[in-house]
Amino acid sequence: MATRLGLGDLLRAAPRAVGRYTGTLLAVFVVETILAFACMIGIAALLAQAFSHLPMWDEAVDGDLYALLSCIHYARVHFVGCAGIAFGALLLWQLASWFLVGGTLGVLARRPEGRGDTARTFGATGAATYLAYARLALCSLPGLALVSFAFTVGIALAEPRMTQALTLPQFFGPLALGTFPGFLLLHVLWTVTDYARVELTLRHESHDPGAVITYLRTIAFVIKRPVTLVHAALGWFVFALITAGYALLAHGHPMFGAEGAVALFVIRQGVALARSTIRYGVLAGQIEIGRTRALPPRRLESQNDSAKG
């Protein structure tokens, strides 16, 4: 009978993984930083095209509300372009992340020794599971549609109370209640996707499980093992805590004591790295519990059997 791991076991997996495979974490983070940096340069170029000769933009960026609104009004198309660049970066990252998550999970699952072996494992697993992850993303679309529906209905139900709210609890209370089902469902779906990826990675060579069947089996697994949800929720909680902490510290200090954008970029990458570490630690825990799952049907063998027959 498989060992039943507790929350503590999952949490303890995080520092072990971060300590042993720090390079993997940093490599993934470097890719993320490069993309974020490219996004920044693209947006900066677009904004500079509109505003480099207009001093009012400097005032806007330095916190003058009137100047900011005036500039947005003046160059709406450029701001739409900025949103397009950001969306493009997001999309690109989503596509890249299938490879990066696959590689990371492969490393954490197979525990290779040495840099070369780790890099080979990373690349091989990332490439091997890429299409399976892509199919998994398609499988999650109906769930995401359900999440959208839950958010829409929840907010529609909360809206009358929110529009008539006189205090912040009256405003955020209904908002929290209205969005709670949507967030809960989203959390379940994201956790299911995480564990389905783990399963696809762990069993890729031995069982080559199909994406659809893995997704459906993982829904049952996650529901049966609430610790998976609690563990992932803790990760998101710390993620939010780091973000909120930074926002709190940065509030009222737009440049956080640094004059230039580069200094700002560096400071924020530190925050982003902390959050990446949390996500990495969560993946490590998920690998641990993923190992304890019942084995999936052996698709390769059944194909071989039918071929023999």
């Binding site: 500079a48 505003f51 207009l54 950001a86 509030h251």
Partner: protein, 671 residues
């Protein structure tokens, strides 16, 4: 344990929802209010106005059916020089009678975000109209049919100049579910534009015409001054607030009570009835006494009521100081219940206004609630006392009032924080309201357009409010604030208790400022085209003495770079242009690399569309700023300042922020 957690969650959910609701329980009998000891006009004294239209009204509210039945006696004086053979009456509530009314057609059933409901129609019906005992109701006609917001009756005998006529009217009405100023919402009743009201005779002596416009979504009101004695018969459970002062209060049979209000030198009467309202009071100190300020709000809106009260007190004191003292004894501010705020909030009547918007996100420091109160209270000057025609020249009350509001808000809350001072963000009324206004140059209707004749409702709003405020602020900056404020004060005092027109406004300002302002008023208020100010070109070249071939014959010599080297100075050329129709003096600031600056003035008064400036300086020109002090609010200022060499640092800083949030999203969806 799991069940316990679920139980606790359900209880918490229930408590949270309960906390969000505003259940007041069944209405209770209210204390009979004390009558006001003060006269309607502070200190009493002689009439301020000519009191042409005087009303005695008795009305009974059926708060369950939201119906009113009433009778009124109108005493009207023909102060013109020509005889009057017909009387027109506003029947405003018929705006809500059906979709054939001009109001419903022009509003498409929605005003300022509030929408008419299928079950909430409202109407007014004249049951009887008698003059000298003769019943004339059957002879009422609707000249704008199918619109029924104006009814006319031909008189059996014309009213000669100087004569008075007494008209006895009985009416019954159904209040609409409120979405445009008047009506009910639940137990709340805001009763405005509710009684048959006579039009106004305007025009030169001997050629007067009735001005009695049907109600359009953009038109508000226009009426003669007079006295109002209004007796309201309402359930004892109602808290009532009304224009004027309460002079009698008595309990009557059937759980009802009568409240009699008296108002002088006003041109309208409005009232509110609601069983759950609470009153908070304060006093505004003006130069010749105090004004009792009353704010009515439901208990859950107490915090906002305090903000509205303080804003109302400040507004009365500042408007009194800027223009003329508030003349009446009381100022009542109604803070409508949150579910009625969109429909009933933000409306002005003499001595009584409605305000809003009370909302959780209107944190202290976000001063939109205060601004609405200041604006509506301000209307007691611009329209309450200076009773301009809101249908024909809406800018004269709304826009002028907006301009004055900006001053008052600035005085009350600080020049840079008059509208927003929250979490480090700051903004003043003039700037932020200006942002809300589309570039006037793009609008096909000028400011001085009749409210019902604008190309669309957005153009009406932008020109009448923001564009007028921007224009007056620009003029103020051009002539100087002190002089302009003095001129506006003179205008207010000259036309209080009258019906000023735009022409009166222009003439008074020109007279007070001692200058012809046609170059400003004509293009700004009467024409389309706006202002298109731009820096066409700015450049610098190294300065040197003239080079080339000089002299003749043997004296001919060629001077080149060697003979006449650069002096080290720079010759800088700046070309500015204005392709719009509005031309106001423009300050130009040239900034140089050594940190020095030079100011120039382009004041062509419309004589030219461009100007070239050439200066020689020891340092290179790096930046040109048109209107560096931001005096001109007529057009957006973003392109008024230009660097000669681009600088992408700010863009990089902005991009760093945007990419940070993008990266945060990336971390949500990726590893």
């Amino acid at each position: 344990m799991y069940e316990e957690a679920v139980r606790r969650f359900v209880v918490a959910l229930f408590l949270l929802l309960a906390a969000c609701s505003h259940d007041h329980g069944p209405p209770r009998v209210q204390h009979l209010p004390k009558v006001d000891g003060s006269p309607a006009l502070r200190g009493g004294g002689a009439p301020r106005s000519n009191r042409i239209a005087n009303y005695k009204i008795e009305a009974r509210l059926d708060s369950q059916r939201h119906q009113i039945s009433g009778s009124e006696t109108l005493t009207w004086t023909n102060t013109g020089a020509s005889a009057v053979d017909k009387l027109p009456f506003h029947l405003y509530l018929n705006a809500f009678k059906n979709e054939s009314s001009i109001f419903m057609r022009s509003s498409k059933g929605a005003v300022r975000g509030a929408r008419a409901t299928e079950s909430g129609w409202g109407w007014i019906q004249v049951d009887s109209l008698q003059i000298a005992g003769t019943e004339l109701a059957p002879k009422l006609v609707f000249p704008n049919a199918p619109d029924e917001t104006v009814a006319e009756v031909t008189l059996p005998t014309p009213v000669q100049p100087g004569e008075k006529i007494e008209v006895a009217i009985k009416f019954s009405e159904q209040l609409p579910e409120v979405f445009a100023r008047t009506g009910y919402k639940g137990e709340f009743h805001m009763v405005g534009q509710w009684f048959p009201k006579i039009g106004v005779r305007t025009g030169p002596p001997g050629a007067e015409q009735w001005e009695c416009q049907p109600l359009h979504v953009n038109t508000e009101f226009f009426a003669d001054f007079g006295t109002y004695d209004v007796t309201l018969n309402v359930p004892s459970t109602e808290v009532v607030a009304a224009t004027g002062v309460l002079i009698a209060a008595n309990e009557t049979a059937g759980g009802m009570r009568t409240l009699t209000y008296h108002a002088e030198d006003v041109h309208d009467f409005a009232w509110m009835a609601d069983p759950y309202m609470r009153l908070i009071t304060g006093q505004a100190k003006v130069e010749d006494g105090v004004v009792e300020v009353r704010v009515y709000a439901r208990p859950e809106q107490y915090d906002f009521a305090v903000r509205h009260r303080d804003a109302a007190i400040g507004a009365i004191e500042k408007f009194s100081s800027y223009f003329m003292p508030y003349p009446w004894a009381t100022m009542t501010v109604i803070d409508p219940p949150v579910d009625a705020a969109m429909g009933a909030g933000g409306m002005e009547y003499p001595t009584l206004v409605t305000t809003g918007p009370d909302h959780a996100l209107m944190r202290p420091g976000i001063r939109i609630p205060e601004y609405i109160t200041v604006h509506e209270v301000g209307h007691n000057w611009f329209q309450g006392m200076l009773a301009s025609n809101e249908a024909q020249e809406a800018w004269l009350d709304e826009g002028v009032n907006e301009w004055a509001d900006a001053h008052v808000m600035s005085d009350l809350y600080g020049p840079h924080t008059s509208l927003v001072d929250y979490m480090g963000w700051q903004g003043d009324v003039t700037a932020l309201r200006g942002l809300d206004t589309e570039d006037a140059a793009t609008l096909p209707s000028p400011i001085a357009t009749a409210a019902y004749a604008f190309v669309d409702n957005d153009a009406y709003g932008e020109q009448t409010y923001g564009a007028t405020m921007n224009a007056l602020t620009t003029l103020e900056h051009t002539v100087g604030t002190t002089k302009f404020l003095a001129a506006m004060k003179a205008y207010a005092r000259a036309f209080a208790w009258k019906h000023p027109t735009g022409r009166d406004f222009y003439a008074t300002l020109e007279q007070q400022l001692g200058t012809d302002l046609g170059w400003f008023f004509e293009p700004v208020f009467q024409k389309v085209g706006g202002m298109h100010l731009a820096i066409r070109n700015a450049s610098c070249i190294p300065g040197h003495k003239p080079r080339g071939v000089f002299g003749e014959g043997s004296g001919k010599k060629t001077l080149g770079e060697v003979e006449e080297p650069d002096t080290g100075a720079f010759v800088c050329e700046v070309v500015v242009q204005n392709t719009g129709v509005i031309h106001v003096p423009v300050d130009i600031e040239l900034r140089f690399a050594d940190g020095t600056a030079q100011r120039l003035l382009w004041d062509d008064k419309g004589q030219g569309n461009w100007e070239r400036f050439v200066v020689e300086r020891s340092s290179k020109l790096v930046e040109v700023r048109l209107d560096p002090d931001r005096k001109i609010l007529i057009e957006p200022p973003v392109t008024h300042a230009m660097r000669l060499i681009g600088d992408g640092a700010a863009s990089l800083r902005a991009a760093a922020r945007i990419s940070w949030w993008t990266q945060s999203l990336m971390q949500l969806v990726g590893p």
